[in-house]
């Protein structure tokens, strides 16, 4: 919507020049449909692969739906109401999985916001081998989730894993159940995710840092600012838009956690680490209760839209202050 608004803006503003020099106008601006033509390739893909399935999903969520059965009884809001009925099994399990997702967001986002920032500050200095280290920290991000899942499953295996083997050599005799008991499962999931994705956030910060006007630092130094002052009063305010982007994108990415938990813990212990997306996939694609799974997806999506909006509003209010 906003894209369409922005695109149509210049056309309206340029009405006056158009009357005096119509040829120049048409040469410069082309058809009034031009913006839409430019948008079309994206809109077609977006429409076919995002909008249409999303709308179809609403329709599905109002039925007791199974792809492969001809009878798909209409249940109205039944699927949604059931998710808010505390006596229904599916509701209990769904909110349990939402809790797991929530915990993961809570545990992982602070690390994923702070550690890459520190890393970016270090990598922004001039020192020999800087490019090498930038590549090293970014490298894990290139790996697919299946690769890191299998890799860490081997490393963290309680009885036959390399990490417990080395810990034993260091004198920690008790095998740590990294993948099967709380709180270790959370340490594992958060640790692996931070290791895996910190490179991405660090690169975004790095770009932000390079966009901060160096004269601001010089001015601060002239005023006698220490390094700490510089960080709080120049770097951080300069990074505000980048920070907003990083926090929003990290919350969304963490809320969509699936692969790590699916491959590493399989939801164990109990359903402690069975995340919302995992439960939705299980309900929809293993048990083929697609209607229920769609309803769950919409609740999750609405919650995430809510969280992101809140995030934007908070940052905007701070900006005004």
């Amino acid at each position: 919507m906003t894209t369409a608004d922005l695109a149509s803006q210049p056309v309206r503003e340029d009405r006056a020049p158009e009357q005096t020099a119509p040829r120049a106008r048409s040469a410069r601006h082309g058809s009034r449909y031009a913006p839409y033509l430019f948008l079309a390739p994206f809109m077609i893909i977006f429409g076919v692969f995002v909008l249409a399935p999303a709308a179809y999903g609403v329709w599905i969520s109002l039925h007791n739906w199974d792809f492969f059965l001809p009878s798909r009884p209409w249940v109205g809001l039944g699927n949604y109401l059931e998710l808010f009925d505390p006596t229904a099994l599916v509701a209990v399990q769904f909110w349990e999985s939402m809790r797991a997702t929530g915990l993961f967001v809570l545990f992982s986002v602070p690390f994923l916001v702070v550690i890459p920032l520190g890393l970016a500050l270090m990598l922004n200095r001039t020192f020999p081998g800087r490019t090498f280290f930038r590549a090293v920290y970014f490298a894990p991000y290139v790996l697919g989730v299946s690769v890191i899942g299998v890799l860490w499953q081997y490393l963290l295996n309680a009885n036959a894993g390399l990490i417990n083997y080395h810990l034993a050599q260091l004198g920690i005799a008790e095998a740590i159940p990294w993948l099967t008991a709380t709180p270790w499962v959370w340490v594992t999931l958060v640790g692996v995710t931070v290791w895996w994705t910190l490179g991405f956030n660090a690169v975004v910060y790095l770009a932000g840092l390079q966009g901060i006007d160096t004269t601001l630092y010089e001015a601060a130094r002239v005023d006698g600012a220490t390094k700490r002052h510089e960080f709080w009063h120049v770097t951080l305010p300069g990074l505000r838009p980048v920070l907003l982007f990083v926090i929003t994108i990290t919350i969304l990415a963490s809320a969509n956690v699936f692969g790590q938990a699916y491959l590493l813990t399989g939801g164990a212990p109990s359903s402690e680490t069975r995340t919302a997306i995992m439960y939705i996939a299980q309900t929809g694609f293993e048990q083929f209760r697609i209607g229920k799974a769609s309803a769950m997806s919409y609740i999750l999506a609405l919650l995430l839209i809510g969280v992101s909006t809140l995030n934007f509003l908070l940052f905007r209010r701070q900006e005004r202050n």
């Binding site: 919507m1 369409a4 608004d5 149509s8 056309v11 009405r15 158009e18 119509p22 106008r25 048409s26 082309g30 058809s31 009034r32 449909y33 913006p35 839409y36 809109m43 429409g47 076919v48 909008l51 249409a52 709308a55 179809y56 329709w59 599905i60 007791n64 199974d66 792809f67 492969f68 059965l69 001809p70 009878s71 798909r72 009884p73 099994l89 599916v90 499953q153 295996n157 309680a158 009885n159 036959a160 095998a175 159940p177 993948l179 099967t180 008991a181 813990t265 399989g266 939801g267 164990a268 212990p269 109990s270 359903s271 299980q282 694609f285 293993e286 048990q287 209760r289």
Partner: protein, 447 residues
């Protein structure tokens, strides 16, 4: 260019988009057709022009290579029929082939695990084979009864069994010998099994690594044990879970005791037991011959043997699965392709000795009794369990109840987070909910 018309308003633009989306959505929701299928009559054998049958299955391991060899052999015997095989992981297979059938792109035939047959029969994506079995010349007396019955759902046959793979006891001879136990005489009952584990434990060897978390499903050992103790997983109609009865609790308690007594390490994950076995750190492994015979044979210097599961309860019983051939529903059946399919099914059933090399026991009795089969020592040992094999009940949706409700509960107990009675009771309550929902869903589908 003039500006007689303003650019399309935002509302019109959005309206257009919403309209397109709505039309696309409604167009996409055609429901599949589940009406009864009459297979056309076809001639005996196929001698027409060359054609290619499409055959989907989940044989992605060493078993896939053996199936491909068999297909080549079939091609030599029947040069005008080529069977083209597509293998994908079983979990993808069960998601993809129904979609292929519904969208009119069905393969000609497939191989599936018996506990998925009832579900897919209820979905109408595979067709009834009552007449086909006659046509192919297969009758009950050629098969072990339980195996033959496992292809029948609601008095109609939907699949033709190829093999049986009962869980069996694999034992590491070197570990047993090192502990002073007879490597040629593995324990076969509860007393001797526990005594052997005690002897091993006294020497610091955990003899029965019991997986507590396993993506392949942690509960087959439990299934076998509760049958041995006289239990049942579900009632006959599949409307109620019975695994929280005394037999189930006793079975799970016995497993838990193995961990508490040091017969198993705690928190054993997926393939740990297997890795430990191959490294001579584990004496006993419970598992299926289809996966293990080839897997263990491929390890150099590993000295192992296999016998049916020990009798821990008061009767013998082993969880078993069976690979079964199914014919996929087509929009229209081509008599030529059907004739070729029958030719293939008849050939592979008669030649299933070749399939025994993959590990499982062929379903055909005459093949199991043949001299060629007797020459396969591991498979022959596994086949001793045939009279005592148990299958999941033939209820639509049963596998999801096992894998998403019962197995996680067992995992919970073996990880030490819940007591057997408590976890099984909760799972039974959850299962009741899903069983009822499945019952309604599939009943409506057939109505």
């Amino acid at each position: 260019m003039t500006l007689l018309h303003p650019p399309p308003s935002r509302r019109a633009f959005l309206g257009l988009g919403a309209g397109a989306v709505g039309a696309a959505a409604l167009g996409a929701c055609g429901a599949p057709d589940l009406s009864a299928v009459d297979l056309p009559d076809v001639q005996e054998g196929y001698d027409g022009p060359p054609l290619t049958l499409r055959f989907w299955n989940g044989l992605t391991g060493g078993d896939g290579a053996i199936m491909r060899d068999l297909l080549l052999e079939f091609g030599q015997a029947h040069p005008n029929i080529t069977v083209q095989m597509f293998a994908m992981p079983w979990s993808s297979f069960y998601q993809k082939f129904p979609a292929a059938v519904v969208s009119g792109l069905a393969p000609d035939l497939g191989l599936m695990q018996n506990f998925h047959v009832a579900t897919n029969a209820a979905r109408g994506v595979i067709v009834s084979l009552d007449e086909v079995a006659d046509r192919v010349g297969l009758t009950e007396d050629q098969f072990a009864t339980t195996v033959w019955q496992s292809g029948i759902v609601g008095e109609q046959r939907y699949s033709i069994p190829l093999d049986v793979w009962p869980d069996s006891l694999f034992y590491n001879k070197r570990v047993l010998a090192d502990a002073g136990l007879d490597p040629e005489d593995p324990p076969r009952d509860r007393a001797s099994y526990e005594a052997a584990l005690e002897t091993l434990a006294a020497q610091g060897v955990a003899g029965h690594w019991l997986p507590a978390v396993d993506p392949q499903g942690v509960g087959r050992g439990f299934d076998s044990l509760q049958w041995q103790m006289g239990g049942e997983l579900y009632d006959e109609t599949g409307s109620r879970a019975l695994f929280n009865g005394p037999a189930g609790v006793e079975a799970l308690t016995w497993q838990l005791e193995r961990i508490r007594a040091g017969h198993s390490k705690p928190n054993v994950n997926g393939g740990d037991a297997n890795v430990a076995f191959k490294n001579n750190l584990n004496a006993f492994l419970w598992g299926g011959p289809g996966a293990l015979i080839n897997d263990l044979s491929s390890v150099e210097d590993l000295d192992w043997g296999v016998v049916p599961l020990p009798r821990i309860g008061d009767r013998a019983a082993s969880f078993s699965g069976s690979h079964q051939f199914v014919i996929m529903r087509q929009r229209t059946f081509d008599p030529d392709r059907l004739a070729a399919t029958y030719t293939f099914l008849s050939w592979i059933s008669a030649n299933s000795i070749g399939w025994a090399g993959a590990g499982p026991v062929p379903a055909r009795r005459d093949v199991v009794e043949s001299a060629e089969f007797a020459a396969l020592p591991a498979q022959s040992a596994v086949a001793e369990a045939l009279p005592d094999v148990r299958f999941y009940p033939l209820v639509p949706g049963i596998f999801e109840v096992q894998s998403t409700i019962l197995y996680p509960a067992i995992s919970d107990v073996l990880l030490g987070h819940a007591s057997p009675q408590e976890a099984l009771d909760e799972a039974a309550a959850q299962a009741a909910y899903l069983l009822e929902e499945n019952r309604q869903k599939y009943a409506e589908a057939r109505a």
